[in-house]
Amino acid sequence: MDLDDTQDQAAYRAQVRAWLDEHKAEAPVLEGEGALTDESEIIAARRAWQGKLAEAGLAGVTWPKDFGGQGMGPIEQVICNQEIARAKVPGILDAIGVGMLGPTIIAHGTDEQKSRYLGPMLHGDEVWCQLFSEPAAGSDLAAVQARARQQEDGSWKLSGQKVWTTNAQFASYGLLLARTDADVPKHKGLTMFIVPIDAPGVTVRGLRQISGEAEFNEVFFDDVSIDADSVVGGVGNGWGTALTTLMFERVTIGLGSEGLGYNSSRFAAAIAGQPDARRDHEVRKELGEIASELLAVRFTGYRTLTALQKGQVPGPESGLAKITIVSGAIKAGDLIADVFGPDALAENSQWAYMISFLPGLKSAGGTEEILRNTIGERVLGLPPAPRLDKGIPFSELRSKETAAA
């Protein structure tokens, strides 16, 4: 048991650190002194920076060499992430594309798709977004209603709506899960497509959250034409392809550093700044409980990494870390606002922003309830609840539901 680098890892870390020391001045400044403020400038700068990282081999570390990656292991990816964080420079802009969508294309895409899309994705020339969730298909992803109908010429016509889409406002392409056959059970009639966001009939609209900021988008598709060769993983295999993406999502989370900046040190520092609060037993108990759980997540990450190194794929239990992070951060927000009083809820307060952001995060990517179902069934082996939608053609489901209600 050991948390230190091997010689090779140390050498790689030194190499990454050296490059960052030399080039970090070229990185876009997003906070403090002379930070960029204009949204489009920020995006442009971050795309350029992703390009430089890719050139230097600091993006797509685990991608195969053939596709511009380094063909290295998860540990090197983490070392790379750690060094980027240490250098206090932004990471790649298109983490979703490079972390989840690219690997999906590598796994299921055609040679043409790989050669056409992977390069520009890796270098940030073309940003991608994930078009899976819908208003009526969030936790129950297989219930997607976005409909793609094949034309005589083999091309497709797509209509429907996606939601909770990150980066869609500046994305070039999206990986989209659509229903291509409604007369078979819902997991069977799905197909994965590559969709150009600039195609006629595609509308991207920002979706404002509690904070008032549009952290996600809604994307509408009105009779959008898609080429026949934009199917990924074969017609009718969309569910399997989607599962691959979700698996890479778990890997990305597993490799990610402690939960989105919701870590014990940050919260402890906030409380430490309040002389009375830091000596209050009630405040200390709350902080101690929250911090212990968040500390655990860091080491759960190292355990996941150990498993990844051994070629094991993280299972659904990795969702437990998300539950711990979100519930811990929510408790921390409550505590900090209690300690600072209403000022913690001021417009420009980082805490007000966090308090507003977390309720949405709790539901993002499947509600906590669904996560607990999945873990209870797949990890603990508990029996599933009776399903009323098993084996029923998708087209008949809604009527059945209404009957049941």
Binding site: S139, I210, D338, F340, G341, P342, P359, R387, E401, A404
Partner: protein, 379 residues
Amino acid sequence: MNLSLSDEQEFLREAARGALSRFKTLEADREALDGNPEALPDLWATAKEAGWPGLLIDEQHGGAGLDAFDAMLVLGECGRVIAPIALLGHLPATAILNDAAAGASLLEPLATGERRAAYLPVSPPDDLVENWTAEPRSGITRAAAPVLSGSGEDARVSGEIAFVPDAPGADLLVGVALLDGKPVGIAVEADASGVTIEPTSRYDASRSLGHVTLAEAPALVLDAPAEALASAWHLAQALIAAESLGSVETALDVSVEYAKERHTFGRAIGSYQAVKHSLTEVLRQLDNGRSLLYYAGWARRGAPDEFPLAASAARSVAGRALDNAARTMISVHGGIGATWEHDAPLYFRRAQLSRRLLGGTAGATDRVAGELMAQADAA
């Protein structure tokens, strides 16, 4: 033994619900959050029509001569629709003046609503804190209460009280100041010299707040016993508790309706235990809170010694109930419940701010423990 509403009380509540239903308060609240505070309706006119400003003022001075529980019923209706109405500040102020028999000239315009008062929250001592303390600008340490000097015509008050509900636009400020360490009731004209009211808002645009600074401001010294001054604090606790539980009612109703309609995996989500049990938990807290509102409503006159306990317990339960109801409302609605256009965030914002005003839910909870241990010592 009768813990139910009288016909008059039923009527008072229905009338309030009807009067407030004429306004799109939630839409206005959202627009105000978006930077247009002028979108908020002027509900004071409605309050005047309904006679709410005089609820706690004796009939002889143009009031309705009703008691805390009636006021709590009205606040509950305000909470249901998050109405931006200045009663939380006005009512405790009028309670002090009425108990002090402040006289017709002062009471009548407040009873009609022609003038509006705001209560300066100063909390009475408890078993741990022997001083009267004021709302602080920040942090968990309470601030010193304002201090009174001189007497009669020359009485002057100095001090600061932060986050005073409904202070902006109030005509009269009523509260407590210390004279040689003893609590004295005071009334200060908002436009008097030395009075500064810094309007402020935090997270919940429907709640008007102000930081009040008094610098040698001329004060009318009230002939109010310390009990009446303490009682006003506890009344404010009971009122915000009632208001919070009104918000819980709406949050629960809306969530239950959605849980019946929304389907996932072929079933209405309300048929899943996770949703069903969390909504039942909101009901449990709401029901406990309601019971304590009866306790507080009865105790203010029926058992004044227990009013601090009753009002604090109601605030404690109601505060946690609203916290949980608002979060449950969001999560039952899934992702959409956390979007700007949805109403759930408005109840969430209300919960976040209310929890930290008027000594906070935590302060009320602490007082419950203190009161009960004092009872135990006495027994």
